[in-house]
Amino acid sequence: MTDVATVHSLWTMAAGAEDKIPAPHIEYGQLSPTLIVLAAAVLGVLVEAFLPRRSRYYAQLMLTVVGLAAAFAAVIGLAAGGYGTEKAHIAAMGAIAVDGPALFLQGTILLVSLVAVFTFAERRLDPAAHGNRVDSFAAQAASVPGSESERAAVKAGFTTTEVFPIVLFAVAGMLVFPAANDLLTLFIALEVFSLPLYVLCALARRQRLLSQEAAVKYFLLGAFSSAFLLFGIALLYGYAGTVTYAGIADVVDGTVKTVDPALAGTMGNDALLLIGGAMVLMGLLFKVGAVPFHMWTPDVYQGAPTPVTGFMAAATKVAGFGALLRLLYVVLPGLRWDWRPVMWGVAIVTMLIGAIVAVTQTDVKRLLAYSSIAHAGFILAGVIAVTPDGVSSVLFYLAAYSFVTLGAFAVVTLVRDAGGEATALAKWAGLGRRSPLVAAVFAVFLLAFAGIPLTSGFAGKFAVFKAAAEGGAGALVVVGVLSSAIAAFFYIRVIVLMFFSEPTPEGPTVAVPSALTSTAIAAGVVVTIALGVAPQYFLDLAGQAGTFIR
């Protein structure tokens, strides 16, 4: 910590000109997961620039899969090397924490991304355009929808292989986000993963206007929330004189009393702390889609290409909750009595509004969007517990939930009619008669969302509710089970529709996917059942990862 302090005194006081500036010490080995993904992303850009068009797809896919797998191996290596437990520490001059929660979340994000990339690369679902197999992304993003240049691009068989490096950049940002140990790193990570996501949202091959509208909405609201976050960071800096998590926590606790002369007017001013903390929380709650910062979720989920929606719904949530946990547990534990009532309120309205509004939805992607809001509420119930059990339950829930979500959205890509994916719920009627297997798989995911025992959803829900109850939030648990009951209603409604309704004559067909999407869906089912029947191993893993380093 001493050289961290030195660095900060360098940054903040601009004093000590007589000292030599020490060369920063970067632990490359411990940052390797992020670095590998970033390197793969940069290579992907080069591939895009130098390889001929026809070989780009395979090269990109290979590079992305290998990059993500290698990064995952690096995470495993670090965890096996004890960096999750006794060797946990702060790396990169205080910017990045290498500890249990960080490694667990990074591993989850990498696995989720790996599976999500399979759905990105799927090229059998959309009918071939002029003899070229195409994926769900626009032929040429730059061409105006409906224009001559778009037709030409489609005819030429262009595909947007840039999505692979873009995803890799997003993943790199997500890896840093829950590990960020100062507010500036947090902000940079947020931007690094958000900007690629805005772009990805706009790339749908079909219904491009809807997709672009979603991207613009996401971008505007996202930029707004980033501004809040940044403003909050500035206020917190004014309060504490530092942006490191530990440093701010020390000032909050009152352990550090020395007042920075440059900030004499503001330091220790509680108004700054409260407003700044609230603004930073708002930025993060926006990313996880908690009420009242959830407005973007349904539109963006609906408009974005479905593989992107799945990726976003799963991986962003993991990264966002990771960062939220670290912020609340490391920076603001001293402020617990101030933020807990607020978070209680947020959790309650998030659970209830997510569940209640979902009941009225008629589009399967919007339905899943509102269900993701309700789930964000359940996760918040675990976040509020402020115990090691709370952390590990949230970690477990995130891992369980992200695979269910990925699988569910992957199934959505399969159900198609002439206009592309048939996301209107009415069209799903009788799917269970037409394609029993696909409907059964989707039913498994829905039951997991509903938290029926023997699925991962139940184990996760039980874990967070247990943590919340132990943390003294019994009322939250009661609201949680009530909104679960409401939520169960609409999950069941979809099952009724699929199995007990007569198929409509011009209903959608279920496309036969390639091995890529099949693998993604199978992974979702396997994880859902495995975490439901034998969750102990993963609970252990999450339990060991339950302590944040300061």
Binding site: P453, F462, A463, V477, V478, V481, S484, A488, E502, Q536
Partner: protein, 552 residues
């Protein structure tokens, strides 16, 4: 390690479900025989359980198994049976082969309505029945609250598909309307039970938190919690205990079902096929009443005593309300459903009377009600499948064209109204005696239920079976061999257990005594000198009483 008999008893039907579901679409008959075979194997295993069950053993639970499962939640995979559980496992295993046989043709797909070649409703139907059996068996055997809860909830899903996916061929309302009613019934069933289950989930979590706070180690093990309470490590505050009790009881009262949480049952039973209706009322619902005995009373004895007055009143309301609505029904299946609500009222009355007779009576009642309802409902199903209508008014004079059908229907009906000499009489009598010794007023009011039972059963019989032969029933065939094979053993069992219930009571009584000891309740001493009322004397009195009422 000894042979895990309890696990295997539950695993065999589960395996059977997988095997049945895997049979190719064209081989429907293979699937049926496979399902029957697996259900018979389960029955054999249940018989082995009964044989190896030692009525004189000291501990409450036998054939126990215990393995670590989810350490973080304090969950152990703990199974064990007491006298009550072993009898109910046997009942389940006994009824399922009959349910399968009775539903032999219920899920044959109509050839023209086959959307694709992989559509296999028959395989699905029998696989789901076996899956329900597996889950019911394991919830009877579980001595860990969490394990119980998991299967208690999970069994809703196959049950839901059985109700919503399979029904009688379109009746008076036409294809679309029938399908809509069916899916409405299935959703209602699921939502009621899921809501109950989720409330219970909150209580389950609460139980964990309480044990974790007080004993340092959160646990769901029934035996561990009882031990902890006995040696004073666990001492719940009475408000906590009451809340937890209510959480558990709510779920079980929905399942049982107790008035006013009963409204899903008539829909579910009315819209599903007769075998599925039997599965609901004779098998699945028993888990609710069983769980009141095993979990509500043993985990929360003080709260149980606190809640007893209200529950007793609700039970009596159930008895009368169910019976009155049964009298008013025009639909045979709904009539049986309301009759069942009335009977569940008796079971709950017996459980919460907190007397040995009441609780043994309630346990016997669960068994006997299972058998008698199965007999009545399955014969009713055969009747309905012949005519294609569930309305009582569509029948008349059936006994002239199909005497065997009418005769078995009558026996089933008489068992339902607890005629002396048939099994349900013994249990109903015990329940009433048990209730009367502590709550005389409620006991007397509950007796009215018997009178009403005579009314709805006999009126049903009279309207459908006697009188002039209706034109539509003229060509009605009598019971086929398969149907006789279903009904005859059930009737034989009703008669046997009616005359000689001792084998059952011997197994059940020690378990009931143990349960009673948990609540610190002893039977009240009779304050009037009565002669030792044996079943025989009583049966005479009741019989004359019945006859007098029936004659009216």
């Amino acid at each position: 390690m000894s042979f895990p008999l309890l696990t295997v008893t539950a695993a065999v039907p589960a395996l059977g479900a997988v095997a049945t579901a895997a049979v190719p679409a064209a081989r429907r008959t293979v699937a049926k025989w496979l399902a029957l075979l697996f259900s018979l194997a389960t029955l054999a295993l249940a018989a082995v359980q009964l044989a190896r069950f030692d009525t004189g053993a000291a501990g409450p639970f036998q054939l126990t198994e215990s393995h670590a499962w989810i350490k973080d939640f304090g969950v152990r995979y703990e199974l064990g049976v007491d006298g009550i559980a072993v009898v109910l496992v046997a009942l389940t295993a006994l009824l399922i082969p009959f349910v399968i046989l009775a539903g032999w043709h219920d899920a044959d797909p109509l050839e023209e309505a086959r959307p694709n070649r992989r559509w296999r409703p028959t395989q699905g139907f029998f696989a789901l029945i076996l899956l329900v059996e597996a889950m019911v068996v394991i919830s009877f055997e579980a001595t860990d609250v969490f394990v119980f809860y998991i299967f208690f909830e999970a069994m809703l899903i196959p049950m839901y598909f059985l109700i919503g996916g399979f029904g009688d061929r379109a009746g008076e309302h036409g294809e679309e309307e029938t399908a809509a009613r069916r899916s409405h019934a299935a959703v209602k069933f699921l939502l009621y039970n899921l809501a109950g289950g989720l409330i219970m989930l909150a209580a389950v979590i609460g139980l964990y938190v309480v044990t974790a706070h007080q004993t340092g180690d959160g646990t769901f093990s029934l035996q561990e919690i009882i031990r902890a309470r006995a040696d004073g490590r666990l001492d719940m505050a009475s408000s906590t205990e009451r809340l937890l009790f209510l959480g558990f009881f709510f779920a079980f009262a929905v399942k049982a079902p107790l008035w006013p949480l009963h409204t899903w049952l008539p829909n579910a039973m009315g819209e599903s096929t007769a075998p599925v209706a039997v599965l609901i009322t004779a098998v699945v619902d028993k888990v609710g009443t069983f769980a009141m005995l095993r979990f509500c009373i043993q985990l929360f004895p003080e709260a149980s005593k606190w809640a007893t007055p209200v529950i007793m009143v609700l039970a009596v309301v159930s008895i009368l309300y169910g019976a009155l609505l049964a009298v008013a029904q025009r639909d045979i299946k709904r009539l049986v459903a309301y009759a069942s609500i009335s009977h569940f009222g008796f079971i709950i009355l017996g459980i919460f009377a907190m007397t040995t007779q009441g609780q043994s009576g309630a346990t016997l009642y669960m068994v006997n009600h299972g058998i008698s309802t199965a007999a009545l409902m399955l014969v009713a199903g055969f009747l309905i499948s012949r005519r294609g209508s569930r309305l009582i008014a569509d029948y008349g004079g059936v006994q002239k064209v199909a005497p065997v059908l009418a005769g078995t229907f009558l026996v089933g009906g008489l068992a339902t109204l607890s005629l002396p000499g048939l099994a349900p009489f013994v249990s109903e009598f015990l329940v009433l005696v048990g209730t009367f010794s502590r709550y005389p007023a409620l006991g007397i009011i509950a007796t009215v239920g018997i009178v009403l039972a005579a009314l709805y059963v006999l009126v049903l019989y009279q309207r459908t079976m006697t009188g002039p032969v209706k034109a539509e029933v003229r060509a009605m065939p009598d019971l086929k061999v398969r149907e006789l094979v279903v009904v005859a053993p059930l009737i034989a069992l009703l008669v046997f257990l009616g005359v000689y219930p001792k084998p059952l009571t011997e197994i059940v009584n020690p378990a009931v005594k143990h349960t009673m000891s948990q609540v610190d309740k002893t039977d009240p001493r009779p304050d009037v000198p009565v002669r030792a009322a044996t079943d025989k004397d009583a049966s005479h009195e009741e019989a004359s009483h019945e006859e007098a009422e029936a004659a009216k």
